[in-house]
C-alpha cells in the first residue's frame, strides 16, 4: 500500500516535471524558432533564388553569391568598415584612458561619468538628427571652427565630401559608445580590491606602473571581449550611415547596402546571400580572434597571460627591491 502511494507520488512529480519543462519553454522556444532559426534556414534557402518578397521565384544557384563578390558597390562597401574599425580603436583607447583616470579618486566622478555615458542612451534616430545638425554647413561644427579662426571656405562639407564623410560618421559612433565602454571598464576595474592600488602607490609605483601591472591584467578579459565585439560590430556597422546620410555619397556600409537591396529593391535573394557572406566572415573573425587570444594568453579563461605572470613577478621583485632600499617604510 505504502509502496503504491510512493509510486504515485513519484509519478505525479514526473508528470509535473514534464509539464513545467514544457510550459515554461514553449513560448521562448517558439519565438526562438520563429525569429531566429526559421529565418536563418530561409536565408540560406533564399540566397539561391532570384525572388521578391511576394511572387514567383526562380532557382539561380550560386549567382547571388557571385554577384556579392563581383559588384563593387557591394563587396567594396566592406572597406568602409575600416573607418569604423579605426574609430573602434580610438574608442577603446579613450575609454581605457578615462576609466583609468576615474579609478583614482576624482571629485564629481558621477557627473563626469554621467555626461560621458549619456550619449549611449539617446535613440539612434535622435542621434542622427543631432549630427545632421552638428555637421550641416554653417551649423554647429562649422561655427565652432570659425570661432577658432578658420575660414568657412577651408572647412570641408562634413557629410558630402567623400574624403572625409566616413570619418565624420565613424566619429559619431565614437561619441556615442566611448562613455559606455568607460562604464564597462570602470566596473571591471572597481571589482579589483582597491587596497591593491593603495598598496602599490605606497610602494612607490607610479601611475603607469599601477595601470600596467594592476589595472590592465584585471580587466584583460573584458578588453578582449570588447575587441571581439568591436571587430564584428565594425563589419556590421549600420547605424551612423543609415540614420545620418542614408548611405549616400559613398558612406554605404555593407549592411546599409544590404538593407537597401532587401527592402527598397526587394532583391531578397541577393540580400540573403549578402547576409550569409557577412555572417560567415563574422564567425571566421570571431573564431580567429578567440584562437588568437587563446594562443596569446595560454588559456582563454584565465585573466593572466604567461607574459603577464612574468611581468607581475618582476613587478613584485622591483617592489621588494624598492622596499629593501628603504624607499618606503
Amino acid at each position: 500500500m505504502e509502496k503504491q502511494s510512493f509510486k504515485k507520488w513519484i509519478c505525479t512529480r514526473k508528470v509535473q516535471r514534464r509539464l513545467v519543462i514544457f510550459t515554461f519553454m514553449f513560448v521562448p522556444l517558439l519565438l526562438l524558432l520563429l525569429f531566429t532559426y526559421i529565418p536563418f534556414v530561409k536565408m540560406i534557402q533564399f540566397s539561391f533564388y532570384n525572388m521578391k518578397y511576394i511572387g514567383a521565384r526562380t532557382f539561380v544557384g550560386l549567382k547571388n553569391y557571385a554577384e556579392v563578390f563581383q559588384r563593387k558597390e557591394i563587396f567594396g562597401s566592406l572597406f568602409n568598415s575600416l573607418y569604423y574599425m579605426a574609430g573602434g580603436v580610438v574608442q577603446l583607447a579613450l575609454a581605457l584612458f578615462f576609466a583609468t583616470m576615474m579609478v583614482f579618486k576624482v571629485k564629481g566622478e558621477s557627473v563626469f561619468k554621467g555626461a560621458m555615458f549619456f550619449p549611449y542612451l539617446i535613440c539612434g534616430i535622435a542621434v542622427g538628427f543631432i549630427f545632421k545638425f552638428f555637421y550641416a554647413r554653417g551649423a554647429v561644427l562649422d561655427t565652432i571652427l570659425q570661432g577658432l579662426g578658420m575660414n568657412i571656405d577651408n572647412i570641408p562639407l562634413w557629410l558630402q565630401d567623400q574624403s572625409i564623410n566616413n570619418i565624420s560618421l565613424a566619429a559619431t559612433s565614437v561619441w556615442r559608445y566611448t562613455g559606455q565602454n568607460v562604464i564597462l571598464f570602470l566596473g571591471a576595474m572597481m571589482s579589483v580590491d582597491t587596497d591593491l592600488y593603495e598598496a602599490a602607490s605606497l610602494d612607490g609605483a607610479n601611475r603607469w606602473q599601477q595601470f600596467r601591472y594592476i589595472i590592465l591584467p584585471s580587466i584583460k578579459s573584458i578588453i578582449v571581449l570588447n575587441i571581439i565585439l568591436c571587430v564584428s560590430g565594425c563589419l556590421s556597422a549600420f547605424e551612423p550611415p543609415y540614420v545620418i546620410t542614408n548611405g549616400t555619397m559613398g558612406t554605404g556600409t555593407y549592411f546599409v547596402i544590404m538593407n537597401r537591396i532587401a527592402h527598397e529593391n526587394q532583391k531578397v535573394g541577393t540580400a540573403s546571400a549578402m547576409a550569409i557572406v557577412l555572417l560567415v566572415l563574422i564567425i571566421i573573425c570571431t573564431i580567429g580572434q578567440k584562437l588568437f587570444f587563446k594562443y596569446a594568453f595560454d588559456d582563454g579563461t584565465s585573466d593572466e597571460s604567461k607574459a603577464a605572470v612574468r611581468k607581475r613577478k618582476k613587478a613584485e621583485k622591483e617592489r621588494k627591491a624598492l622596499q629593501a632600499k628603504g624607499g618606503v617604510r
Binding site: 531566429t36 561619468k113 555626461a115 545638425f133
Partner: protein, 281 residues
Amino acid sequence: MRMKRNVSSFVFAIVKYVLLILASIVSLAPVVVCVLTSFKTNEEYASTTVLEFPSSFGYFENFKIAIEKANMLRCFGNTALVLLVVLTVSVFTGSMLAYVINRFTFPGRGMIENLFLFASLLPGIAMQVTIYQIMYSLGLINHLYGYMIVLMGTDIISIYIFLQFFENLPVSLDESAIMDGCTYFGVFFKILFPLLKPAIMTSLVLKGVSVYNEYYSSNLYLQRPELKTISTALYTFTGPYGNQYNYICAGVLITIIPILVFFLVFQKQVYSGMANGAVKG
C-alpha cells in the same frame, strides 16, 4: 623629494580635471546646442549663429509644433504600450526559461541552451531580411502586437541575465520547498521569482532602454502613421521641415527627456545593468 612629488601630483590633478571636463563637454555639446536651438523663434533661428543663446528660454512654440506635426503624444502612447507588454512578457519568459534550463536535466537541454547562445551571434539586421517575409506571411505587419512579438522574439540578453543569476541561487531553496510539498510551479513563482529581483531589475533597465530606442523594426513593421513609436516619430521631420532645425531639435529633445529622467533616477541600476549585461552580451 616630497615637495617635488606634491607639485607633480598637483599638475597631474589639474590635467586630469581639464581632460575630464573636456570629455564631458564634447559628450554633451551636440545635445546642448540642440537645447539652445529648440528655444529659438524662426527669425532668431535664421539670424543667429547656433552657439548663441535664444532670447528667452520661455518660448515653447517649437515644442508645441513638434508634438503636433509628429503626433508625438500618440507615439508616446504606442511606445508606452509596447514597453509595458514587451517588458512584462520578456521578464516572465526569460526567467522561466532560465529556471528550466538551470534546474532540470532533460534530453536536449544542452542543445537548447546552445541554440540560444548561438542566436546572439547572428547579426540582427541581416536576420530582418527573412524575418520580414515571415512577418508578412503571418500578417503581423502594421500591427502593434506584431511589433511587440518581434521585439520579444529577438530578445536574448534577458535570458543570459537570468541564466547567470540562477547559477548563484542555491538549489537547496528549491529542495526544501519541494520537501514542504510545493509544486514546481510553486517553487518558481513563490520561492524563486521574488528572489530574482536584482536580475529582473537589470533586464528591465537594459531591455527598457533598448525597446524605447528601437527604431529599425519599428520603421519596418509599423508604417501607418498612427502606429509610429516615439523613436520613429522624428522621421516626420525629414520631409518638409528638413532644414527647420529649431523644430527638429525640439522633437529630438522631447524624445530624449524621458530617457534622461529615467537615467537620472536609475543611474546606479543602469550602470550595474550595463556591467552585468556586457559579460556575455
